[in-house]
Amino acid sequence: MKANIKTNIIWLIIMVAGFYLINTLILVGVVNAFIENMLVTIGINIILATGLNLVIGFAGQFSLGHAGFMAIGSYATAIITSSMETPAGFYIALVVGIILSIIAALIVGIPTLRLRGDYLAIATMGAAEIIRIIINNLKITGGASGIFNIPNLASWPTVYVMVCITTIIIVNFIRSRGGRAVKSVREDEIAAEAMGINIFRWKLLAFVIGAATAAVAGSLHASYLQTIGPNDFNIMESISILIVVVLGGVGSITGTFVAAAVLGVIDTILQNFGTLRMVIYSIALILLMVFKPSGLLGTWELSLQRIFKHKRKTGGVAND
């Protein structure tokens, strides 16, 4: 327990320090608007990818419909804050987006989570496309052209805090009783069921938490970019979130952080290459996957506890 408190405090210090580091860098001028934009995009991708990693990496359910839930969060924020241009409006919109997204996740998840593997992937992809097509045809969502001039109520500190909150919630869930249940479902459904675990309920819970975090990310996306359209949330968006998860290592939360950062930086650097950008990006993706098939970190986590243990053994001999 003591070790837990120690690591928790250190993580808290790291979070606060990270915040002040970025803050001073912005004040000093090292981080300009361009880089700030990159950081916010990385933050949003981290929220999306940790949520998806919970569903794919920990619950073992292959979902390809993450962008659909992101769309719900985005549109809820866009519609509500357009008529309520206050920070309170943003948080109300955030909560409404999360609730709507959870309802959608229940509607999608209850029937489809009975499917397995690639069938589940294709069913969730279909569900996300249905969400997108409905948004594309409604009046309130601005149809195919989307919504413009959304008030900017989410600056980078909001994104930073949200990244921290969603990560803490997901990591705590993974380490709770629920998390162990979810991981047992991933390892062997039949064995888990034999141990008295209601596999369907835990799958659904992981799926719903993933959808809720996607809605948070969508909300920040809408508020920060101020323009959204249905095509921002197509299959390619779901796939790009999946790329972050797999590149970081399926089942590694810190890996997701690393991958989101790496991809964000690569993307920003490649902006200078114009049309060649996507060609280089795709070659980099193929090479990374061929030479590092388990992702950047695999299932390995950067963990403070392990560092402490390592230190305590000391003598420099111990090497697990």
Partner: protein, 292 residues
């Protein structure tokens, strides 16, 4: 009733394109359990090859079709060799991301090299419409249907009657056991890619004739639709892929004709989800029993 039959005819011609693509998906999935996202882009390569040889080398339809099939087959084998073979024993999701990477590479590479403009496909066959009891059928539609059916029958013959087909079926059931009885799995998998990709190349030329316009991103949507068709028919099942393709083509055109064209994709996905809920392994898929 006339309108209905008209839409069924249109749906069948569109569906035969989806079916040709879906066959490639289903064969590759059956043998190495990989969703080959780059398959739709091989279809795009086939269409561009057809465009090039008809314009520059003045090929006729048959020559263009056959050469596009060869180009499709070669590119499929090359992609398999460089991108998928090193990942044969890694997690399936990794191979999936690689396939997506290859798809991005083909789309953006073609856009970069030959610009992303839409081109009009040369009309080598003069279009005639035949009126059969009020239903209009063009010779191009007949050609697409006949070509697709001939190719599907050929494929079925290759899979069922040749030694290579037997090897393909063996590898898809159990690749380790197949290796033990002396089947060269690598050659068999390459052959599967060649077969599937040649069908995609043919589909590319056919769609060029049918829709008259091609561009480097044309493979994305039909690729996903064809994959949906393959899943609908039961992925891994060859007749399932053909039936799924025709079904999706007909559904799409029917909903377009009753004025729901904005929702036609939603309907396709809705039908997919409902069918999967009733038959979790698709229409023709084998439902595996759970074993402890």
């Amino acid at each position: 009733m006339q309108i209905f039959f008209q839409q069924v005819i249109n749906g069948l011609s569109l569906g035969s394109i989806y079916a040709l693509l879906a066959l490639g998906y289903t064969m590759v999935y059956g043998i190495i359990k990989l969703i080959n996202f780059a398959h739709g882009d091989i279809y795009m390569l086939g269409a561009f090859w057809g465009y090039y040889v008809i314009n520059s080398w003045h090929f006729n339809f048959i020559e263009a079709l056959l050469s596009a099939m060869v180009v499709g087959a070669v590119s499929g084998v090359v992609i398999e060799y460089f991108a998928y073979r090193p990942l044969r024993h890694s997690p399936r999701i990794t191979a999936l991301i690689t396939a997506i990477g290859v798809s991005f590479l083909l789309e953006n590479g073609m856009s970069y090299l030959f610009s992303s403009n839409t081109r009009s496909f040369p009309q080598i066959i003069q279009q005639h419409n035949y009126n059969i009891g009020g239903v209009l059928i063009s010779n191009i539609q007949i050609l697409i249907l006949v070509t697709a059916c001939v190719l599907m029958v050929l494929l079925q013959l290759i899979i069922k009657k040749t030694k290579m087909g037997k090897a393909m079926r063996a590898v898809s059931v159990d690749s380790d056991a197949a290796e033990l009885v002396g089947i060269n799995t690598n050659v068999t998998i390459s052959f599967t890619f060649a077969l599937g990709s040649s069908l995609a190349g043919a589909a590319g030329v056919l769609i060029g004739l049918y829709y008259n316009s091609i561009d480097p991103l044309m493979g994305m949507t039909p690729g996903i639709k064809a994959f949906v068709a393959a899943v609908l028919g039961g992925i891994g099942s060859v007749p399932g892929a053909s039936v799924g393709g025709f079904l999706i083509g007909i559904l799409e055109t029917l909903f377009q004709s009753i004025g729901l064209s904005a929702y036609k994709d939603a309907v396709v996905y809705g039908v997919l989800i409902i069918i999967l809920l009733i038959l979790p392994a698709g229409l023709f898929g084998k439902n595996k029993k759970e074993k402890v």
